[in-house]
Symmetry: none
Subunit: 206 residues, 4 copies
C-alpha cells in the first residue's frame, strides 16, 4: 500500500484524514467519559454522545467497546513509555544515581501528568485491559536495565542480571504508581531520594 499515486498529486488524503480525526475524536470522548463519569458509566452510547456522533459510527472505527477503552489507555501508556524512554536515553552515558533519579522523576512526572486517568485505569478498570500493555513496557525497560548492568560489570554483587533487573523495575514502577496515586506526605524530591537510596543500596550491597 502506502502511497499509490496516479500521477503527481498525493491522493488518498481525504479518508485518511477523516479517519484519523474521527478516531482521535472518539478516543478523546472516551477519555473524557472515563475521567468524568468513571468506567461504570463508560457506555458506547455515552461516548458517541460526547463525540457528537451516532452510536453506529463508533463501530466504523472500533470493533467494540473494549477497543475504545484500550485505545484510550494506549494513548496514555505510550506517553508514559515515551517519557521514560526519553529520560533513559538522555542519561545513557552515566549509569548511577543521576540516571536512576532522572528516570524515576520522568516516570513520576509522566504518571502525575494524568493522575485522574491513572486512577481510573488502576482502580476502576479490570486490570486485564491494561495488563499486556503494562508487561510489555516492563519487559522493555527490564531489557534496557540488563544491558546496562552487563555493560558495567562490578556494579552488582550478583551476576544474575535478569533477576536484579526484575526487582529494580518492579520496585520502582510500583513505588512510583503508588506514590502518585496515594499521595503520601512525602515531597517529590524526598521520594526521588528514597528511590535512589533503595536502588543504590540494593546494587551496592556486597
Amino acid at each position: 500500500m502506502a502511497g499509490r499515486q496516479q500521477s503527481v498529486a498525493p491522493r488518498k488524503r481525504p479518508q485518511q484524514q477523516r479517519s484519523r480525526a474521527m478516531v482521535e475524536r472518539i478516543v478523546a470522548a472516551g477519555r473524557e467519559v472515563l475521567l468524568r463519569d468513571g468506567y461504570d458509566a463508560f457506555s458506547t452510547n455515552r461516548v458517541a454522545d460526547r463525540a457528537g456522533i451516532s452510536p453506529g459510527s463508533l463501530y466504523q472505527y472500533f470493533p467494540n467497546k473494549a477497543a475504545i477503552v484500550a485505545a484510550v489507555i494506549d494513548r496514555y501508556s505510550d506517553e508514559v513509555a515515551d517519557r521514560v524512554a526519553g529520560a533513559l536515553t538522555d542519561r545513557l552515558g552515566e549509569f548511577g544515581p543521576a540516571m536512576i533519579r532522572d528516570t524515576a522523576d520522568a516516570l513520576v512526572e509522566a504518571l502525575a501528568a494524568n493522575v485522574d486517568l491513572l486512577r481510573v485505569v488502576m482502580e476502576d478498570l479490570p486490570a486485564t485491559s491494561n495488563r499486556e500493555r503494562r508487561t510489555a513496557l516492563e519487559q522493555r525497560v527490564r531489557e534496557l536495565v540488563m544491558a546496562y548492568l552487563a555493560a558495567r560489570p562490578g556494579t552488582t554483587r550478583s551476576t544474575d542480571h535478569a533477576t536484579t533487573a526484575w526487582v529494580l523495575v518492579m520496585a520502582i514502577e510500583n513505588l512510583a504508581v503508588r506514590y502518585v496515586l496515594d499521595e503520601p506526605a512525602i515531597s517529590r524530591e524526598r521520594f526521588l531520594d528514597e528511590v535512589v537510596a533503595l536502588c543504590a543500596g540494593y546494587l551496592a550491597v556486597a
Copy 2:
C-alpha cells in the same frame, strides 16, 4: 429449604447462629463463583444459586452485591494479614535480615496459598473493591515498622521513619504480589534474598 422443621424441635438458637452460618455459606458460594466463573459472571443470582438459596435471601445478609464481593476479599485479606502479623510477632525481638526475610516469606506464602483468588482480585476486579482493605493493612504494617525503627535508632540514615516505612512496605508488598502473580523465573529463596538485599541496602545507606 435446608432445615425446615415442621413442629417438634424448639426453634433452636436464635438468629445469630443461623445468620453466621448463612453468611459463611454465601461468602463461600461467592468465592467459588469468583474462582470458577470469574468476576464477569459474578451475579447475585449465580451466587444465590450456588449457595442454594433464593436471590431474595441474599439481601437479608448483605446489602448488595458489592458487599458480597467485599466479604470474599475480606476473608482472604484477613488470612494474609494474620499470617504476616504472625511472622512479624514471632520475630519480634530481632530486627534485621532474618525478620525481613521471614516476613516476606510469610507474605509470599500467604499470597501463594490462593493464587487463583489473588489473580481474580488483582486482575479481574475493579481495584476499588479492594482498596480500603488493602490500605488499611498497609497502614497497620507501616505503623509496626515505624515503631521498630523508632525503637532502634541508628538503623537508618534518616529520621523520617514514616517515609522509610512507607517505602519499605510498598516495595515489599508490591514485589511479593508481582512475584506470586507473574511467576518470574526466580526461585523463592532467591527472591527472598533479593528482598532482604533491597531492604538492607536501603536501610544501611549512609
Copy 3:
C-alpha cells in the same frame, strides 16, 4: 475496481452496457452470499463487498435489499421455468405418460442443479420473497396443462379442467421440491414412475 481505464479508451457504450454488467455482478455476489453465508448474513454491505463496490452503489441498480434477493431468485426461477417449458414443448405432440415423466424429470433436474440455492430459498427465506414469482410460474404451467386437456377431450372424467390442472401442477411441483430437498431413499427413476402413476391414475379414474 476491475477495469479502471486511465485515459485512452472512449467512454465506450452508454450506461446500458455498464448497468447490465453491474446488475449481473451484484446478483452474482448476492447469490454467493446467500449460498455461502445464508440469509441471515445477507446484508447489503456484505453483498456490496463481495461485488467489489460500495454499498451506496448498490442503490443505483436496485431500490433496496429485497430487490436484490428477488433478482437472485428470479435467475434461478427463470432457469427452472425455461427447462420445464423446454421439456414440455419438446413433448408437445404426445400427451401422456411420457410427457408427464419428461416434464417431471426436467423439473427435478432443474431443481437439483442448484439444491443449495433451493434449500436456502425454501428454508431460510421468508416465503414472501418467493411467492409472486412462484405463483406466476404455476399459473403459466397450469394454463398450458389446461390447454392440453381441452385439446384432448376424453382424457379426464371431469370437464373442470381448471381444477384438474391446479391439482396436477400443485402435486407435481410440491412433490418434486420435497423430493429434491428431503432426499428420501427413492431413486430418481422410481420417483418419476410414481409421479406418472399418480397423474395417470388421477386422470384415468372414471
Copy 4:
C-alpha cells in the same frame, strides 16, 4: 394465584399454576403479535408489551425469542396433528375412499381454522423454525399409512410401501396447505373429491 391451601391439599401447585398461566399468556401474546404485526415486527419488547409484562419477565419462561416463536407454532402444530390423528383413528377400520376423504377433510379443516397463522408461518417465517415439527408429523403419518398398506395386501401395485406412503403423504399435505393458503376457486367438497381421486387412482393403477 389459585388457592394456596395450608394443610390438606396436595402441595406443589402454586408455581406450577403461575408458570403455566404465564407461559400461556406469553404464547398468546406472541401469537397475537405474529398475526397482527407479522414476523418482522415480532420483537420481544412487543410481545412483553402485549402480554402486559416486562421484557425481563419473558426470559423467566423462555430462553430466547426463538423459543417463543417455536411455542406459538407448536400450539398450532399440535392442534393440526391432533385433529388429523383423530380423524385417522376414527376411520381405523375402513381403508378406502372414505378414510382418505375424512383425513384430508380434517387436515383442511384444521389448517383453515387458523389460516392467518398458517399464512404467517408458511410465508413470513424462515421455514427452518418450522421444519423439525413438520417432518416429525409427516413421519408419524407416513408410518401409519405404511402400516395400513401392509395390513391390506393387494391395495397397491407396488410392495414398496415406504415409497407409496411418502408420495401419498407429501401430495396430500402440500395440496391441503396450498388449497387453504391460495384459496383457489374450488369448493371444499370438490377439492376433497379430487384428493380422493388422486389417491385412489394412484393406489389402483395396475
